[in-house]
């Protein structure tokens, strides 16, 4: 029997199955790097983040970074498992980080307004710390949430079929 043509072999590949452990390790290293930067550069690293937020460039940078990282993680897993990347998963990886980061940006504005509205001592420094914490949690959310949705989607599809 002759070997299947390469094009047919590609067609017959099953769609990639993501596990939450796949992005978890990469996100953990990123998180540890963030922590290390905070400890090694306790002044300059938070200042860069706060200034980027004040210049309105933080969100666009984070969107670009998280979308690229998510796509890279997904394609790597597809390559390692010799599976076919799915369109639904790819669109989820493109849309969800944007939605999460835009939503959390509104959330951050509400936080800052709340901090500045009441009398709190050292409000400017507190706002800087809120921005820093918010940036970190938003980064985690923008990377973890799409894979969480993909995972639940896969389980739902398995249950239906």
């Amino acid at each position: 029997m002759s070997a299947p043509a390469p094009a047919l072999a590609v067609e017959s590949r099953r769609p990639v199955t993501m596990r939450l452990a796949d992005p978890a390790a990469m996100l953990a290293y990123l998180s540890l790097m963030f922590g290390a930067l905070l400890v090694v550069f306790p002044i300059s690293f938070p200042r860069i983040i706060v200034q980027s937020w004040q210049n309105a460039s933080l969100m666009s940078t984070m969107i670009l970074f998280t979308v690229l990282l998510n796509v890279a993680i997904y394609l790597r897993v597809a390559h390692v498992r010799s599976a076919k990347p799915g369109i639904m998963a790819a669109s989820c990886l493109g849309c969800v980080p944007v939605l999460v980061l835009v939503g959390l940006n509104f959330w951050l504005h509400a936080t800052i307004a709340h901090t500045l509205s009441g009398y709190v001592p050292n409000a400017a420094a507190r706002v800087d710390e809120e921005i820093l914490a918010h940036t970190y949690f938003a980064l985690v959310a923008a990377i973890f949430t799409p894979f969480l949705i993909i995972r639940f989607g896969q389980q739902f599809r398995q249950k239906r079929s």
């Binding site: 596990r19 939450l20 452990a21 796949d22 978890a24 390790a25 996100l27 953990a28 290293y29 998180s31 540890l32 963030f34 922590g35 905070l38 400890v39 306790p42 002044i43 959390l104 959330w107 951050l108 509400a110 936080t111 709340h114 901090t115 001592p121 050292n122 409000a123 400017a124 420094a125 507190r126 800087d128 710390e129 809120e130 820093l132 914490a133 918010h134 970190y136 949690f137 938003a138 985690v140 959310a141 973890f144 969480l148």
Partner: protein
């Protein structure tokens, strides 16, 4: 308004308590069970010398992660961060903690129903998710430490 300078934030011994906290969790959550098995083997004159991977092959690290996430959520709730930030941090710590705990649940269910169970996969998944919870927990503790200093000024 009080300016925040480097002296307030540069890590000193008192600021490195998150390091002690990390050691405590690593010691009690991972090292202690391993040492206790060694003690049991010595007492019963057994040759039992399990590797860390074998000890946690059913996803038990997921349970340790869930406890770790709970304790950090508790610390976050006690902090002076705005309620929005506390909610955001708590939700994502809880989500990652529950997903890590789910590895143990899934391993248990698969073993109980004799369905497809791979110990390597249980270990790998629980290790990756435990590392994630641990890294989020450690960064959260660093952020809490910073915020406590700012609030104290």
């Amino acid at each position: 308004m009080v300016a925040l300078n480097s002296d307030n934030l540069i890590a000193d011994w008192s600021a490195a308590k998150w390091l002690l906290w990390t050691g405590l969790y690593l010691g009690l959550g991972i090292l202690a069970p391993w040492v206790m098995i060694g003690a049991w083997a010595h007492q019963h004159r057994s040759n039992l010398k399990p590797r860390l991977r074998e000890l946690f092959q059913h996803g038990e690290l997921g349970l340790v992660s869930l406890l770790l996430a709970s304790s950090v959520i508790w610390d976050l709730q006690k902090s002076q961060y705005m309620p929005y930030t506390i909610a955001l941090g708590s939700v994502f710590l809880a989500a990652t903690g529950v997903m890590a705990g789910n590895v143990w649940i899934e391993s248990y269910c698969r073993r109980s129903t004799n369905s497809d169970f791979h110990p390597e996969r249980g270990w790998r998944d629980s290790w990756s998710l435990a590392l994630l919870v641990f890294s989020i927990a450690i960064v959260t503790e660093i952020l809490l430490d910073r915020f406590a200093k700012v609030a104290a000024l």
